[in-house]
């Protein structure tokens, strides 16, 4: 009985720490805003502009937080205010659940791919709620576009998750599929990163395309497309509520990057202990930065925007088959 109680207590403490400080909470907020800053700066340089300072996102947030809140008189006020809260909450919790190679093993029992699969769409849901509840037609359009993109990018996401699970579970000798992130990472510590596994390469590519898809950047800047639907769901937002949405986006960026890292290249640089943790954390951030550059910043700089139907069929035609190919191979080779 005491064992159970201690178990629950440690678990809870671990969870509280994770969500307040690291890897969720303060850490993820800071990292998210930092990554956003880097993104903007590098993009500016790529476009031969000077660009804002690295801390510009923080300034933006602070400014918005002090602004007045505007709410359309035909909006559903409760939902309008809750939408950003919902999105931000979902991402903060998700961030707290993600393990970091050589640094943090995640919250016991919750580092599971299927759970993440359900937490990941929460920001999109927040945006859709926002678009709907704002009562703006642009909001509704953005909502619809968001949903459409979700149909598109959910399939490669599921398939690559399952591909990883099957690959890890099958090769690990357990015969089944492993869906727990720590277990997946353990496997890669033993067998090398999945990124270098030829069977998993298509899935890794698919995930690489999933990131801009879900972040709505570059080719896939469709739901909020400013020139088309005037930021869609966010059109009517201002002040602290908009700040929450920006934070949500920043945290989400961290989450998808960290997730990709955990799935395909979680390997730490050095053994833990004696400050190794700090090294590994920096190593982790580096990996995130590289991934950011590849999948978001450069992608964004190099591409324009697709039409909704083009974006949709891009995922159906190219990304999904990639992920499915990995899944099929992994299934056959297990």
């Amino acid at each position: 009985m005491t064992n159970v109680l201690t178990g629950i207590l440690t678990n809870s403490l671990q969870a509280v720490f994770a969500m307040l400080i690291f890897p969720g909470g303060l850490f993820v907020l800071a990292l998210g805003l930092f990554l956003k800053g880097v993104d903007r700066k590098v993009l500016a340089r790529l476009q031969r502009r000077v660009g804002p300072p690295l801390y510009q996102p923080v300034l933006d947030i602070l400014k918005l937080a002090t602004k007045e809140t505007l709410i359309p008189d035909t909006a559903n006020e409760g939902a309008f205010q809750l939408a950003p809260v919902l999105g931000l909450t979902g991402m903060l919790v998700t961030a707290a659940l993600l393990p970091i190679g050589g640094v943090w093993n995640g919250v016991t029992g919750l580092g599971d791919l299927l759970i993440l699969l359900y937490l990941l769409p929460i920001p999109a849901m927040g945006l859709m709620l926002a678009g709907g509840s704002s009562s703006s037609p642009y909001g509704a359009l953005g909502f619809s576009r968001e949903m459409c993109m979700m149909f598109a990018y959910e399939m490669p996401l599921i398939a690559s998750f399952l591909a990883v699970a099957v690959r890890v579970g099958g090769a690990g000798g357990s015969g089944g599929s492993l869906l727990s992130l720590p277990a997946i990472m353990d496997y890669q510590y033993l067998h090398g990163p999945l990124l270098f596994d030829p069977v998993m390469l298509p899935a890794a590519l698919a995930l690489l395309l999933f990131i801009p898809g879900t972040m709505g950047s570059g080719l896939f800047d469709i739901p909020e497309a400013e020139p088309e639907v005037i930021e869609g769901p966010l059109l009517e937002y201002s002040g602290p509520l908009l700040a929450a949405f920006h934070l949500m986006s920043a945290v989400k960026l961290v989450v998808v990057l960290e997730l990709a890292v955990a799935l395909f290249f979680p390997n730490p640089l050095v053994a833990t202990g004696d400050g190794g943790v700090m090294v590994n954390l920096l190593w982790h951030i580096c990996k995130c930065l590289v991934l950011l550059m590849v999948s978001v910043t450069c992608f964004r700089a190099a591409t324009g925007r697709l039409r909704l139907d083009q974006g949709f069929s891009f995922f159906v035609k190219y990304t999904s088959p990639l992920a499915l190919a990995s899944l099929g191979l992994a299934f056959l080779l297990r």
Binding site: E68, P72, V85, A244
Partner: protein, 1261 residues
């Protein structure tokens, strides 16, 4: 002399035949006709004389004597009429009856007497000479005489119709009845009548004078030999006819007294000499006849010819009783002829042209059949007489078989066919059926009832006798089997003909007549199997059909009486305008459709079972298909009577006596189902008398548990309290609370699975009924709604307390057949009727498959108890029981609305009042998965090895069906804009998850499926109740009519969000856990493709729920939303409770998972390790409590921060319209139908147009 005797016989027969044919051809000149016909009598006499038997001489003498008297009267009357009308041609004499009623009466009497039809007994001569002919080896001569009799009947009926019965213009003033008759003919006719009445005595004396007093008694029918009830009815008919001449006011009372006396005599002194079979029929006839008399008192009041009507009705009753109790051929034949005569007179009672035509057909067919039958019977008697034995009682068990044994196999088959002919006509077996649909519509309804209900049963009685004789003592060379096959073929043809023809009828009585054909065909089919079980089943159905069809005709008669038309279309809405008659009619219809709890179901079951036992699967299938067709036309009657608007003046109530008769029959129909085993016990002695070897019948006793009875009592209470909606609803809710209490405390559940299901059924029922109390205030006749709702729940509960397949199916039908149909069409709009009918037919189809499965499975396992089946599955080879189980499984899947059948046909509660729609979606359709669990883990729990593998394969197919359905129904839901349509398709999609989980058959799969069953129950009911609140407040049916309701109804909006998050599987709401477990179960089994489908579909779930939310709650207010406001407490409380439960069971899935784990264990699987926070370890482990804690903590923090910041200043603005200030904001709404236009267009492109953006559902009528 001896050498020439046979010649004389045949010459005589030829003379008779040719003369009668010639007579028939001389209808133009009645004088010549009479001459030919008289000449024919010489032929008859010659046959008697030539037979070489003493009886033949006596017969010839008697024949000449009677015919001479009859023909003298005939001639005298005809001459007088001819002088008055100016000619002997039929044309000249036509319509003479109106002018000279007395004269034509005598003419008719004499002519009928000449062919052997009288209200008294038949003239005895023909009987003697036929017997003599048969004894003398002249059976062909006898048959030729029978053929001659047909021609005689043909011209007689033509003449009588033209001359006597045709209603010409009534001359004014009305002539005195007996004017111009003449004393001579009157006296002669009187003498003839007396001679007929005392034919026995007369025959004996003639015999004594000619050949000495020997054993004549056996061949004549004397009054003294008749049993008391027959004598009472027979003499009573005359007495009453005489009495009411003087005291017409006492008519009703006298009829009642006479009927009571007859019935009393039957009950008080069952005729000792006769066997159970005949006792059964005697009782049936006395009771049925008595009810018809009671009904007639009100029905015939003030009609023309009332006295005549009662006279023939009692004659009919007497003859029926006589038939059922006769022990001798002569008495039997005599009764048969009186029956034919009296029923013919009743058929032509109205004397319209159609009535006369139908009557003629009826009479000629019956006379022909009876003539042939008489030859056959006499042939049987003759064998006994020539071997010097005492005359056998042919109608006693074994009597017929014994008599047949004296013949060679081929000959005895031939004789059996002869006997069968007469009965086949009476029963209306194809091709001898054509009188039946002709006679029923033209007769008064009070006569159609016994024609169908009682008269045809005489035929069935005879067929049963012949079949049992042939089946119990098989003939060498298979001749007997040929006869049986012939019966089967005739019955099958009759059955198909009846069902098909009934479909196209517009006249309700003609439709019912064809339905009689179908039912008789069904009975005949099963009877022809010639087994104990078949006979018992068929006899039970005889009883039931007598009750149901009498009831239907009598009730239809009441409706027709008030509507003044027999056309079905003209009866529109009458069921509501005449509630009592309508209710009785409904009971009859439900029973005849074979739906529980009425008796028709049980007899049908026994018959189907017997067919299977005899290895005739095709027969069972045929009967089931026919039953489906039957439901189409019976359903049409229901629709027209009850769910069409009534456009007419208020109607006077029917007389008490009519209601009394109908009420009694309706009560009997109910009793036959509720006390099914006692009811069947009534026919068991008869069946064992026919088949002394006996056999076993399945146990069809239905035990009604208290938990199922209490809701029914609640239904009764709701009907009684109909004046006050609040009280009505409270009573209904309370009854379910009581039943729930019983289920919580009770021990009457055979398995844990059933107990849990009962708890869910009742608990959700309480919520929905409480909600209905508020909701129904904007609908009509809430009491009816409550009554059918409670009946449905009673069926559901009943299913959980049974331990036999039969009882299971019985309650299954109570749950899903007519109560649900009534619930769906409650609003009575055209679309409700259409959808209801679609559902009803589909349900019958699905239930038929299920039923066939039940039959096959029980048949294979040798019993219908769960224990028998479990034992059978454990010990018998797979191939024996798998078809049954698979068929049942298909039925279950159809109930759960799975593909590949069109989903909108399977379940369409969209038109039902929302609380019941919600209940159907949330609970009732779960009986499919529940049934699958029951099949696999209770009934087939003993399967191992190959058997288990076969079952798993079947389940695997089911899992794929579930998986595909998830996706398909999800996309369909995405396309819908109807409020309920979308939720309904969503239900199907979610049920796909449940089926998928359960059909995996693994511990995790079953646990996940059950958990989703539970969770879906909560969130889908919540969604429906919220939708109901929206519809209640706005009167909208379509999401496009709504908008901005979230601002008008914040509580509903909040609670709907809970449903949304649950359905989409968003933690910490409950849908998340169950879906997670199902995904894990899939991945554990390696079903990755199914897993992808299932996970992907949850995005679709999210999409359509968001669309609902957007369409209904967000955006600008629509006109419908303008007038809306939050609903009352009775509706809000259940909604809030459900929303709270969705969250609570999401945070602590253990609340549901812990009992489910116990349940999984009770099913023989190793349950997953569970705790309050969900599955603890292994696949599917997830600490929901912790996750929820994190979500709440973070969410709370973020909310606090944001709200602190926003609290500083909020400004209301107009939405951004690109600076254009003159935009009408109301036009900026993006409605539900437009929301996903783009994605759906993409989808349509991908699916080659299969899915397209239509505005589906939710139309107003």
């Amino acid at each position: 002399m001896q050498t020439y005797a046979p010649f004389a016989m045949y010459v005589g027969a030829m003379i008779a035949l040719v003369s009668e044919v010639l007579a028939f051809r001389s209808l133009k000149d009645l004088k010549r006709l009479m001459a030919y016909s008289a000449f024919a009598q010489l032929g008859y006499a010659l046959v008697g004389l030539g037979s070489g038997e003493t009886g033949g001489v006596v017969g010839a003498a008697l024949q000449l004597l009677y015919q001479a008297a009859a023909r003298t009267v005939w001639f005298l009357c005809l001459r007088r009429l001819a002088t008055e009308q100016g000619g002997f041609s039929l044309q000249a004499l036509a319509g003479a009856g109106a002018r000279r009623p007395g004269l034509t009466l005598l003419l008719g009497f004499s002519m009928f007497t000449a062919i052997g039809l009288t209200p008294f007994t038949a003239p005895p001569g023909k009987e003697f000479l036929l017997l003599a002919a048969v004894q003398g080896g002249g059976i062909w001569a006898a048959l030729a005489l029978a053929a001659a009799g047909i021609f005689a009947a043909l011209y007689t009926v033509r003449v009588i119709h033209e001359v006597c019965l045709k209603t010409g213009e009534m001359p004014e003033p009305k002539p005195a009845y007996f004017a111009g008759v003449g004393a001579g003919s009157l006296m002669l006719a009187g003498a003839l009548a007396l001679a007929c009445l005392f034919s026995g005595t007369l025959a004996e004396s003639v015999h004594g004078w000619l050949a000495g007093p020997v054993e004549t008694a056996g061949h004549t029918a004397g009054l003294g030999a008749w049993p008391l009830p027959v004598v009472i009815a027979f003499l009573g008919a005359f007495a009453m006819f005489a009495m009411v001449r003087f005291a017409p006011k006492l008519r009703g009372l006298a009829a009642l007294a006479l009927a009571a006396a007859t019935l009393g005599a039957v009950l008080a002194a069952p005729v000792p000499a006769i066997d159970p079979l005949r006792q059964l029929f005697t009782l049936l006839f006395a009771l049925g006849g008595g009810l018809v008399v009671v009904y007639s008192i009100g029905y015939m009041e003030g009609h023309e010819g009332e006295d005549r009507y009662y006279f023939f009705l009692f004659l009919l009753l007497a003859s029926l009783l006589g038939l059922a109790s006769a022990t001798e051929v002569a008495a039997f034949y005599s009764s048969f002829e009186i029956m034919t005569f009296s029923s013919y007179m009743l058929v032509v009672h109205k004397r319209t042209d159609e009535a006369l035509a139908a009557g003629a057909k009826y009479l000629v067919m019956c006379v022909g059949g009876a003539g042939v039958m008489q030859v056959g019977l006499l042939a049987l008697v003759a064998t006994g007489a020539s071997s010097g034995l005492a005359p056998v009682d042919l109608f006693a068990p074994g009597g017929l078989a014994g008599a047949l044994a004296a013949f060679s196999p081929a000959a005895s088959a031939g004789v059996a066919l002869l006997v069968l002919a007469g009965f086949a006509v009476k029963a209306g077996l194809f091709p001898l059926h054509s009188w039946l649909p002709a006679a029923h519509p033209v007769a008064p309804s009070s006569i159609s009832a016994p024609l169908s209900g009682l008269l045809t049963k005489v035929g069935v009685f005879g067929v049963a006798l012949v079949v049992s004789a042939l089946a119990s003592a098989p003939l060498e060379g298979g001749y007997g089997q040929w006869v049986l096959w012939l019966v089967t073929a005739m019955a099958a043809a009759t059955f198909i003909l009846g069902e098909v023809m009934a479909l196209v009828q517009q006249d309700i009585k003609r439709m019912l007549a064809y339905s009689t054909l179908a039912q008789i065909g069904e009975i005949g089919l099963v009877l022809s199997l010639g087994t104990f079980a078949a006979t018992a089943g068929a006899l039970t159905h005889v009883l039931n059909h007598a009750v149901m069809k009498d009831l239907l005709f009598l009730a239809a008669g009441g409706l027709i009486l008030r509507a003044g038309s027999q056309r079905l279309g003209d009866l529109a809405g009458l069921g509501k305008a005449m509630p009592f008659t309508g209710a009785c009619m409904a009971v009859g219809l439900v029973s005849i459709m074979g739906l529980p709890p009425m008796g028709g179901f049980f007899s049908k079951f026994l018959m189907l079972k017997a067919a299977l036992d005899a290895g005739q699967i095709w027969m069972a299938a045929l009967i089931l298909v026919g039953g489906l067709m039957g439901c189409i036309y019976y359903g049409r009657i229901i629709k027209v009577l009850f769910f069409s608007p009534y456009k007419g003046a208020a109607l006077a109530p029917l007389p008490l006596t009519m209601n009394l008769a109908m009420g009694t029959l309706a009560a009997l129909a109910l009793c036959s189902g509720v006390f099914s085993s006692q009811w069947v016990a009534l026919v068991l002695p008869a069946a064992s008398a026919l088949f002394p070897a006996g056999g076993s019948l399945p146990d069809i006793a239905i035990h009604w548990p208290l938990a199922a009875v209490i809701p029914l009592l609640g239904a009764v209470l709701a009907i009684m309290l109909r004046k006050n909606l609040k009280l009505c609803g409270a009573a209904a809710t309370l009854s379910l609370v009581l039943a729930l209490g019983w289920a919580i405390a009770g021990t009457g559940f055979p398995t844990e699975l059933q107990r849990y299901f009962a708890l869910l059924v009742l608990a959700l029922g309480v919520l929905n009924l409480a909600y209905s109390t508020g909701y129904m205030s904007h609908s009509h006749s809430p009491w009816r709604f409550f009554a059918v709702f409670l009946t449905m729940i009673s069926g559901l509960v009943g299913m959980t307390t049974v331990s036999s397949l039969v009882a299971f199916f019985c309650f299954w039908e109570i749950m899903s057949s007519w109560p649900l149909f009534f619930a769906i069409i409650h609003e009575e709009t055209p679309s409700a009727l259409k959808e209801g009918t679609k559902y009803f037919l589909f349900n019958i189809a699905g239930a038929s498959l299920l039923f066939l499965g039940v039959l096959l499975l029980g048949h294979a396992c040798g019993g219908y108890g769960f224990a028998d089946v479990t034992k059978g599955v454990g010990s018998l080879p797979v191939a024996v029981w798998l078809p049954g189980i698979c068929l049942m499984g298909v039925g279950m899947l159809m109930k759960a609305a799975m593909l590949p059948v069109r989903i909108d046909w399977q379940m369409h509660p969209a038109t039902a009042p929302t609380p019941v729609s919600g209940y159907i979606s949330a609970m009732l359709l779960k009986s499919g998965p529940f049934g699958i669990l029951l099949l696999r883990f209770v009934l087939a729990s003993g399967a191992s090895g190959d058997a288990a593998q076969a079952l798993d394969t079947a389940m695997y197919v089911g899992a794929w069906i579930g998986g595909v359905t998830i996706l398909y129904a999800g996309i369909q839901a995405l396309l819908q804009t109807g409020i309920k349509e979308m939720l309904i398709y969503s239900t199907v999609s979610q049920l796909g998850y449940v089926v998928l989980g359960i059909c995996l058959g693994t511990s995790l799969g079953v646990a996940g499926g059950l958990l989703h069953l539970f969770n879906h129950m909560l969130f889908k009911d919540l969604a429906f109740l919220c939708a109901g609140a929206l519809m209640f407040a706005s009167h909208a049916h379509n999401l496009e009519e709504l908008g901005g309701m979230g601002r008008k109804m914040p509580v509903t909006f909040l609670c709907f969000s809970a449903a949304l998050f649950s359905a989409a599987g968003m933690p910490p709401f409950n849908g998340f856990t169950s879906k997670l477990v199902i995904y894990y179960a899939l991945i554990e089994r390696g079903e990755l493709l199914l897993a992808i489908i299932a996970i992907l579909s949850s995005v679709i779930t999210l999409a359509y729920f968001l669309k609902f939310m957007h369409g209904a709650f967000f955006g600008q207010l629509t006109p419908a939303a303008e007038r809306a406001s939050e609903v009352g407490l009775a509706m809000r409380l259940p909604i809030m409770l459900l929303a709270g439960l969705c969250l609570l069971t999401g945070v602590f899935p253990g609340l549901a998972l812990i009992p489910i784990a116990g349940l999984v264990q009770s099913l023989g699987l190793t349950p997953p390790q569970v705790g309050l926070s969900g599955i603890i370890s292994g696949y599917g482990a997830c600490n929901m409590a912790l996750l929820s804690f994190m979500l709440f903590a973070v969410g709370g923090g973020v909310w606090l921060a944001v709200s602190r910041l926003t609290a500083r200043g909020v400004r209301r603005t107009a939405i951004h319209t690109c600076g254009e200030t003159s935009v009408d904001q109301r036009l900026t709404r993006i409605s539900a139908g437009d929301l996903y236009a783009a994605p759906i267009k993409l989808l349509a492109g991908m699916s080659k147009g299969y899915f397209s953006l239509k505005r589906l559902g939710g139309q107003h009528d």
